[in-house]
Amino acid sequence: MQFHPPQRVFASFLLLVAMFTVARSQELAATKDSLAPLIQTLEQKISRKKSLEKQRDRWLQRLEQKSAEITQQKKKRPRNPLQARQLEHLLQETQQLSAELQKLQSRLRRLDDSIQVVARTLVRQIDKELIASFRHFRTARKASPAYRQALQQIGRLYQLRMSYQGYAGPSFHLARLLPVHFDSLDTPEDRKRKRSILQDQLDYLHSLETALQEKERQAREWARLYRLSGNLLKDLQFQEIQDEAMAKTDEMIAPNRWRQPESGRTLSFQTPDQTASGLSVGWPHLTTPDFSTLPAHAGYILALPPDKLPRQLPEIQKLIRRVRALADSLQLLISRSDPQN
């Protein structure tokens, strides 16, 4: 069989390689910022851990072999001097290997601990940047480059959080989304401080809503791109393009054949409704809504890559409605907590 790949086919190979490179470089480019050194350290440690684990597995395998050989040798009776020396040699080797393995295990444990420390530092740093990005919404003018940058940054930060913690949210400790309770013993200073916390929470929710609206826009845009691409392929199939693998086209064009999110976490909201009607809003006893489940879901949605978004469009819309309802409740609470009202 003789192949004469022409230059154009070779060019398409090059294009293929270029596309791989672009896909990879996009991922790398996204990490070129203040988080980059931490991410780099963490990646190095993770890859070091993987290689040590491989080495440990190899040594364990060798240890098993040696143990099997020792058992074999011990079964042989009567033993001549050569066999006895062999057995002794094997026992020595096994002891050495066990000692090395123990050292390796302790190195792995230390490495694991340091990975945990770096990961925690990274996640704290991510949270700080997240809050800074949320605050950017307050100052940035809508449709300005800073505003768009903050939006992109939020999505990326949630993705990083998901990668290094396996869990995208919540960041409510930093956003001060802890319940705030007003009561009759509060001094005017206390009320002022609590109202400032509530205002922060409201800003957070408004920012979250905007970020989710951006995701909704992206979801619609990607759904449109998939649809346009799918329509073209459908048109061409009618014109006799051989559809070699029906499933492959489906998989590539509508890639969410797996209905569950990858983590297996469902996106439905199991907690009771927390709209204004669920709040105790009678002055002076006021308590903020419980945010505990919301940022996790929002974080999960914000961490989704674009190809997963179109399928989640109804969930995104549901989440936006929910965030808006919470923001409205909070607004109501702020206005009621104003002593002048």
Binding site: L16, E221, I241, E251
Partner: protein, 358 residues
Amino acid sequence: MGHASQIERRYAVKLSARSAAILLAMFVFFRPAISMPLSEQNGRIQVSVGYDSNLYEDPQSPFAAPFLRLQYDRSWHKKIRSLSPAFQLGVWTSLYPQYTQENKIFLHLSGSIDRQWTNRWSTRLTVLARSKYFLAARAGYREGKAALFSLHRLPHQWQIEHSILLDLWRFEQNARYNFNLAEYSLVLLKPVGAYGKMWIRFSASRGWFPAFAWAASGHVTVGQKNRTVLAETGVRILSPGLFTVAVQLANNTSSIPALSFVQWSSQLTAVWKIRPRWYLRSFFQYITKRYSVPAETGSEPFQPDPELGEGNRFTLDAVWLLRNSLSLVLRFQNLHLESVFRNRYYQKRLFEILLEWQ
């Protein structure tokens, strides 16, 4: 249909009773499913006018004509626990006001059912029937295809897909081209970076042409058996548009040496936004087909329909979204495809203006 003798052989017969019965059976088979209260439905209607530079797909003397095309397709999808049935129906007609003998209709009906057995394993059964008929002549074909896919999720985000496929083709005008195909295929898929996906595919297929006759050097060979092995790799990236590139190598060994070939193929599909409400989309396929006996061109058609020929294709669409559900598409296609005669290619250019409602 490009060949003059074939056109002469056609006589004015509408859809044959047998074909109508098959279509009716297909409809009856899928009807209960179609009438189900399905959760997701998509419909699309396309109306277009265009210009075809080579109406009869003739390699030597192209003949240009305007045409009108109507297309309707509809799909249904539902999720019932771990089962996901889906159905698709498509009708496409191409009408040539000045050359009515070329008027044709395509019908497409397919159904699939997905079953997710575990979080890491799902299967899909797909059945497809499609046909092409000339409205004023007894010509065209019917195709029936069934495929079973098994998709597994592996560690490190790898996915592996096995599939077996059975494909039957029946030609209206000449039964000697009827053929059956069985294929096994293996696809490995993996995400690349945040916005990409790559795949590698291997397949092996066997094709039978029981009544095919090939005359060469004063000797007639009856029956043809083909064995095809194929390797493909491709990547899709999602940013800033949707781009898919694939390279494929196929080696076909035929019981008729003149029909054995090696084929390289590269494909690019791209959709990207150029302005608000304006999109460009493109499909490009470049094929290099080398027969193991290059000199022999053959005096008889080796397949009956020139539109089934493989070759180079370039399609470029400019899509203007007038409304969310309504778009205007300007389409240009340049085709350089193998005609009904082995190793002889025809050139065809199509210009179309489409109005699409979805």
